[in-house]
């Protein structure tokens, strides 16, 4: 299967053809995919070199002239390194852009911690007005990229990953989707962790919600699910553990509730290796998830074969 990032340049190249407002800003990373787009639209495909402050600042300037910039590099260099540019050049100026990241949590484990940014969504959470899409499949990535570019002058973050679920689900760029219904708790699976969560909760009497848009947080969707399944909530996020715990707490502020936030650990592992090894190290494989979810919800179920 191709990756979400394989879809990125072809989709945005089509959007460049269709919409004269769309522009692409790169800092070397990802430029090869845009070679043809650069030939067709030399003024709307800009590679600023290895200059990430300029990457965001220039995108903001383009937005102020009326363009819709799509800005891409690895999450470490898109959100962390030029964070003040996100805060001031976009937020404070009242300008919008679509940020498309790759390799955020541990997509390239052999690359080490310099190329990991599991805190990207948590960092954006300190700012006002960002929409955050976390697709779980290349087809969903394509739909959410189109949705993001079409979102007027909004500030939108699209988090692409090499991790993926086996099958795509319909996404609307707003709401959580109910994929399983139960009565003893709600598990929210964000993007590419859905398959592991479904495997982990097989035979458990829980509702599973699938989230591909996490900001704004679908407060109404979570509340609806808890009406039938109770107010014990587990969040499973493919980025820093607990990133959405506050949002879930706020959604249920007027009722007694419990929230467990699972995701990527804060501690630096100092390990290389493969993605699956990091999934397991952070307790995000199906077996660990079943243990942690089952323990928190105190639900009994048949352990699925192979879990």
């Amino acid at each position: 299967m191709d990756t979400m990032r394989d879809r990125f340049a072809p989709v945005v190249t089509r959007l460049l053809d269709e919409d004269p407002r769309v522009a692409v800003v790169l800092a070397e990373i990802g430029r090869d995919g845009f070679a043809e787009a650069l030939r067709r639209h030399p003024d709307r495909v800009v590679n600023v070199g290895i200059r990430e402050q300029l990457l965001v600042g220039a995108a903001a300037g383009m937005a102020l002239t009326g363009l819709r910039p799509v800005v891409h590099t690895f999450a470490s260099f898109l959100v962390e390194r030029p964070f003040e540019q996100l805060k001031l050049d976009l937020g404070h100026q009242g300008a919008g852009a679509v940020l498309v990241s790759a390799a955020a949590s541990f997509d390239w484990p052999a690359g080490g911690y310099t190329h990991m940014a599991p805190g990207d969504v948590a960092l954006l959470d300190t700012l006002d007005g960002w929409a955050v899409h976390v697709p779980g499949h290349p087809d969903e990535a394509e739909a959410l990229l189109r949705h993001a570019v079409a979102a007027g002058d909004d500030k939108v973050y699209v988090r692409l990953s090499v991790q993926s679920n086996a099958r795509a689900l319909p996404v609307d760029g707003e709401r959580f989707r109910t994929v399983r219904e139960g009565r003893s708790g709600v598990v929210v699976a964000v993007g590419p962790v859905l398959d592991a969560v479904l495997h982990a909760t097989e035979g458990l009497d829980v509702t599973v919600l699938y989230a591909t848009t996490v900001r704004p947080f679908d407060t109404a969707g979570l509340r609806r699910a808890t009406a039938a399944a109770g107010t014990d909530v587990v969040l499973v996020e493919p980025y820093l553990a607990g990133t959405s715990t506050a949002a879930a707490n706020d959604a249920l502020a007027d009722v007694p509730h419990r929230v467990l936030g699972l995701g990527v650990g804060r501690a630096e592992l100092r390990r290389y290796g493969r993605v699956e090894e990091h999934v397991a190290a952070h307790g995000l494989d199906a077996r660990s998830l079943r243990e942690r979810i089952g323990g928190f919800l105190a639900v009994d179920g048949v352990v699925p074969a192979g879990a």
Binding site: P20, A23, V25, D43, R44, V46, V48, G49, R51, Q53, L54, V56, G57, A58, A59, A60, G61, M62, A63, L64, T65, G66, L67, P69, E84, Q85, L88, D89, H92, Q93, G94
Partner: protein, 235 residues
């Protein structure tokens, strides 16, 4: 437009100290407060094709004040040129005033960017020049004003090093040099721009004719920068 009719009468350069005094409460201003004053006046009076009535015109020139510290001279010039009412000036820095100690583009009529944190104007100006070029708007010129110490910020150097080779001819930077950088070498400011392929001139930042000549000097195919030298900040 009644607001402008009520508050705007023709103001000249000689009125600027009085307008600044509405903010500072003092007719006399030291070199630090006025380091940008002559540069701003010459730009708004003779160079920039802008005006209060043109702020929605995509073809207007863009002036991005990057050095947002000490914006009294900027507000005074904007008031003198009718962008904002003179009677806003006395409220400078107060809770209900749109005029803060660093400007906010969403509050100040005529301000193309909000600034304060140093090193943001030039990268945004690069993007503005790119955005105008991408839309076939070849006429508008983009200007940004930075301070000599502000040039310490590395983000400027990302922008300088990109804009020269990219041939952003419509991009202009004026560096107001009041010798406030702690670590500097003579001629170092212009040299760094020139090394990146910019056209560069250094002039007396109080001499209006020299400033005008430098601001309007031709620079085909290259971005242009002017060092405007004024009295040392700590002299």
């Amino acid at each position: 437009m009644t607001i402008f009719e009520e508050h705007t009468r023709p103001h000249g350069y000689a009125d600027l100290p009085g307008l600044m005094a509405l903010m500072t409460g003092d007719e006399k201003h030291g070199p630090a407060a006025t380091s940008t004053l002559d540069v701003l006046w010459v730009l708004y009076d003779r160079v920039l094709r802008v005006g209060p009535e043109r702020m929605d015109d995509p073809g207007r020139d863009r002036f991005l004040l990057s050095k947002g510290h000490g914006p009294m001279a900027y507000y005074a010039v904007l008031a003198a040129k009718g962008f904002l009412p003179v009677d806003w000036l006395p409220g400078f820095g107060s809770y209900d005033s749109p005029l803060g100690h660093h400007p906010d583009r969403l509050l100040v009529p005529g301000a193309e960017i909000g600034s304060g944190s140093l090193g943001h104007g030039l990268p945004i100006a690069v993007g503005t020049a790119l955005g105008l070029r991408a839309q076939g708007l070849d006429e508008p010129r983009v200007w940004t004003l930075i301070g000599d110490a502000e040039l310490d910020e590395g983000s400027n150097h990302e922008a300088i090093a990109f804009a020269g080779p990219a041939g952003l001819e419509r991009l202009h930077t004026v560096v107001v040099d009041n010798s406030s950088a702690s670590h500097a070498r003579p001629g170092g400011i212009a040299a760094r721009f020139e090394a990146a392929g910019w056209s560069a001139l250094t002039v007396d930042g109080r001499d209006h004719e020299a400033l005008y000549a430098a601001f309007t000097a031709p620079h085909p195919g290259r971005p242009h920068m002017v060092v405007a030298r004024v009295e040392p900040k700590n002299a």
